[in-house]
Subunit: 206 residues, 2 copies
């Protein structure tokens, strides 16, 4: 297998943390996003979606969605389990991955990509050149403002997002909170449950 | 278990088709979205995300994401398998669900919710009142224009999105294509592979 990636970006970080916690090493090649290498013909032959990371399997199949990589690698390397240990925990883990993607990561990306000079006409990842929409900056901020208190309330009752066990949902939240710094935000100190979760997550991830 | 739903909407349809194919009946209560019942206090006590469908489990847990409901119900009712039958097929199925959500369903929703008079200040589902952003109509159309040929090319090689077997990814594509009619679009006849898939899917779903 081989991973094409770009270490500083959020989606690559999700996969990197997952592999680290599994204790699995896969040959890795950096794709220079800063130089738009992902948009070149060579990389688009590997992954037409022109996103990172890409996981290329031994049979040549290329996976371009991290949730799919999690699913495949969890089957290959079941220990430690990171996608939930009961039907409910598995359901909660993928639910939270989806909620975080839609409600937090997309909100942060809205703010970042629609106001940064470097992303003019690159408002979404992938091959499409789309103009920035400045109004999405405000919408993104409001989405973030809405989900942070929900996360704080949820984590008052549970140690981890999906329940008693650390899962990929916690990886995704950890990476999303790091992504907040790209738009000069962080978790407000008043969200004490979320802050306490951050400390647990830091410890869990060593 | 109990399902709170609103039959005409896309996410409720995903769950309804899944349950039908599993041959499972769950007590169902309609939430009147047309009358904004989902935003009322009673429903938000059941599902603070104020979205449909909600699946309430026997222990009172409420799942609000369809991908989580699929995951839970697949474990409870494994036959017929609808989330893939090998690690790769499982990975492809969830990958396509994610790609369709981000690239097609969200694109259609962008067009629909940002130009319909009835959605003024309701540009996203959920409790937030967000103003419409007219520029998202054009962006949504371009996202749809971009993913349809990708789907057509992909289905030239495979009978179903995730491979040899019908999965939840096909359910999601089927529902998304129906959702296209909400913005007065359909699959252009030139996408013959996608049209052929539609015929297979219609047959498979009876």
């Amino acid at each position: 297998m081989k991973v094409y990636t770009y270490d500083p970006a959020p989606n690559p970080q999700r996969l990197a943390i997952f592999l680290k916690l599994k204790g699995v090493e896969i040959a890795t090649q950096q794709v220079d996003i800063a130089a738009a290498e992902q948009l070149g013909a060579a990389y688009r032959e590997i992954n037409p979606a022109a996103t990172v990371p890409t996981l290329v399997l031994d049979d040549g199949t290329a996976l371009s969605e991290v949730i799919g990589m999690y699913t495949y690698l969890e089957a290959l390397y079941p220990e430690p389990p990171l996608m939930g240990q009961t039907p409910l925990e598995r359901a909660e883990a993928v639910s939270w991955c989806h909620k975080l993607s839609n409600g937090l990561t997309l909100g942060i990306a809205s703010v970042f990509r629609n106001r940064s000079k470097g992303f003019r006409d690159r408002a979404l990842p992938g091959p499409l050149n789309l103009p920035q929409i400045p109004a999405l900056v405000e919408r993104g901020q409001r989405q973030i403002d809405a989900i942070l208190p929900q996360l704080d309330a949820h984590l008052a009752d549970l140690p981890w997002l999906a329940g008693d066990n650390f899962t990929v949902a916690d990886i995704d939240l950890y990476v999303a909170i790091g992504f907040l710094s790209w738009i000069k935000r962080s978790v407000p100190e008043t969200y004490t449950e979320l802050i306490a979760w951050q400390e647990r997550a830091n410890e869990r991830m060593g």
